[in-house]
Symmetry: C5
Subunit: 165 residues, 5 copies
């Protein structure tokens, strides 16, 4: 039985946690989910550290939605830097799923984008933990999470990418 | 009995400490406050480290007011990076409450903004320490501290956000 | 027998792994390759850490293809910073091979550039591990990986650079 | 008896050390000063680390004067980031006193600014070490070092700020 | 007998190592030089770490020549950040000698600039290791490496700077 930590924020404008948990459960079994909610993205690194170090999680998913202003971009950068440090300290993966508010044109697209990116990254997280060979099959295929895949520049496809968009 | 550290600066143009302490005390009990004042935001990381590591605090609140110039933005970024490092070293939360001088149009708005952001983050800090489940109820609701909440992009509300603005 | 770790991504639009492995094998012997595929460049640092710390690799090659947007540039910077940290934690080299999507004008050039940069860096990796003196012979000669070498500003050539472009 | 380390540079265009030492001695007693001179600001972090870790200093003052070019700004940022890391590693304060060459219009103002900022920060350093309560009295009063204080946005003054400009 | 590590790159367009070693030997004795060549500046941090930690060097000199593009500036920043981290981990100095390609107008000036900056920093390195008091005599005099010294803003000169340009 594995333990997957999910850290999310009150700042985000979409309930990303719900989509992450549901997709994980649709994708496979043999894991439990542990949730940790913080105010904003800069609080995510220590939340993930606590999940991985003190609550026995084998991996974490960090869900955040940085705002559109310059200062928000800086916050996201600080958060990402911290999330990488936590991974190096714990030797465990944290799948960062950030959706920038200004990636979408309106609330409807934002909700759509957030859901889809969360779901596709939930699959990545599951595979990293249970089926890492599936990721190798998709290597170099230009996979994207949220918007459409960009595809291979060499015209390649891969078995692993069949079910992807 | 918990111990909440509050680090503040002589550089800030509003007595943020006063509002933080008062709101914490209005929100709940079973904690004491330990204060540490430094010159500017770049001194906050080690102040918080000392509060968390040497003075037995369970969490810290870092209060700062970066100036409007480019160099001030860089200082704030360095301070934030340091505050995240301290959290990862101590496995404890630091709630960073920075109010940028140029977020407000005049001194009056600056004082108003600083007070309100401090107070709302004091509630976040209290909840993280005593009622983390309250934050999960507010997850994904687009909560903001200071200016108005932005709200959910999915039209959701949450029980936990009822008392918020 | 040495162990060379290669970390690659599903985000990349070229199968960089294939070219790295093949060129390593064309260059020499006495090593085995261990592969680790992750979603994107920000996942490479912990992948390399795991390769170097937990899977006994003596060196790693980190293959990535950052996108053309500002946010992609920031991601690449965060990844590079993390890759340097891993090297300092393990005292082992990670040869970072990043090809930015906007370095090439179209898919064909992108595929060409990625392949050539990967291959030339695979030689660097091999030499660092088995023949470090070859690198010293090429020092200061303005070697580049992918596009043409820039050459010495002093009009020097070196024995070591003979086989290079 | 306390030990205050002062690190300075040959790059700076003002003898900042002289002003720091003199003002410390005018402000109080029960300390000795240990000096460490390096070429530029990027050498200050390890100099301070050596002062704090190997030469028994209880605190350090880092004196630097970054140049006016973009690359100088980046160097200053790298130095500041390093100085914060040293503080977190040693749990001791480093008061960073950087005067950017382009803050002043000519050499005369530069010398004046550097001297005044150094002197006011020397007082901060002394107080942090011997009278931290004095800093708390000045908290939120908009204190500045070098140019004029900006003052409180709430119209407050404080006993502690009486002797300031 | 001291041990000075010199790390250089194949990316650089001038054989900086040669000038560093020669000037060190012209400046004094009682040291040996240990060389380590890597592909580019981002490989310098771990090279220096290996020199200082595993090959018994007392100090290192990191020689690099970042290119003129934005991405090259970012690489140089990442390298510098890493070099500072290594210094803090080892408590030893690394004298970073970076010459940016776009500091010079043509190859001839680039070669001249690189040589002179390397030589002047080789003297700094020697003095830090053997005669730190010489650096203190030059403190605050506006010393530069490569282009002309900027001089003191206070009209001061120092005994230590007599032999400088």
């Amino acid at each position: 039985m594995k333990r997957i930590g999910i850290a999310d924020t009150t700042f985000a404008r979409v309930d990303m946690y719900k989509y992450a948990k549901r997709r994980l459960e649709e994708t496979g079994t043999y894991f439990v989910v542990e949730r940790y909610t913080v105010p904003g993205v800069k609080d995510l690194p220590v939340a993930c550290k606590i999940l991985l170090d003190q609550r026995g999680c084998d991996m974490a998913i960090a869900l955040g939605m940085p705002g559109p202003k310059d200062i928000d971009k800086v916050c996201a950068h600080e958060a990402s830097t911290g999330l990488i440090q936590v991974q190096l300290q714990t030797c465990k993966h944290i799948i960062e799923v950030f959706v920038h508010e200004d990636e979408a044109e309106d609330d409807k697209e934002l909700a759509w984008l957030a859901r889809r990116r969360v779901e596709e990254h939930a699959e990545n997280a599951y595979n990293l933990l249970f089926h890492p060979e599936k990721l190798s099959k998709m290597a170099g295929t230009g996979a994207r999470q949220g918007f459409e895949d960009k595809g291979s520049a060499e015209g390649l496809t891969s078995a692993g990418s069949q079910g992807r968009h």
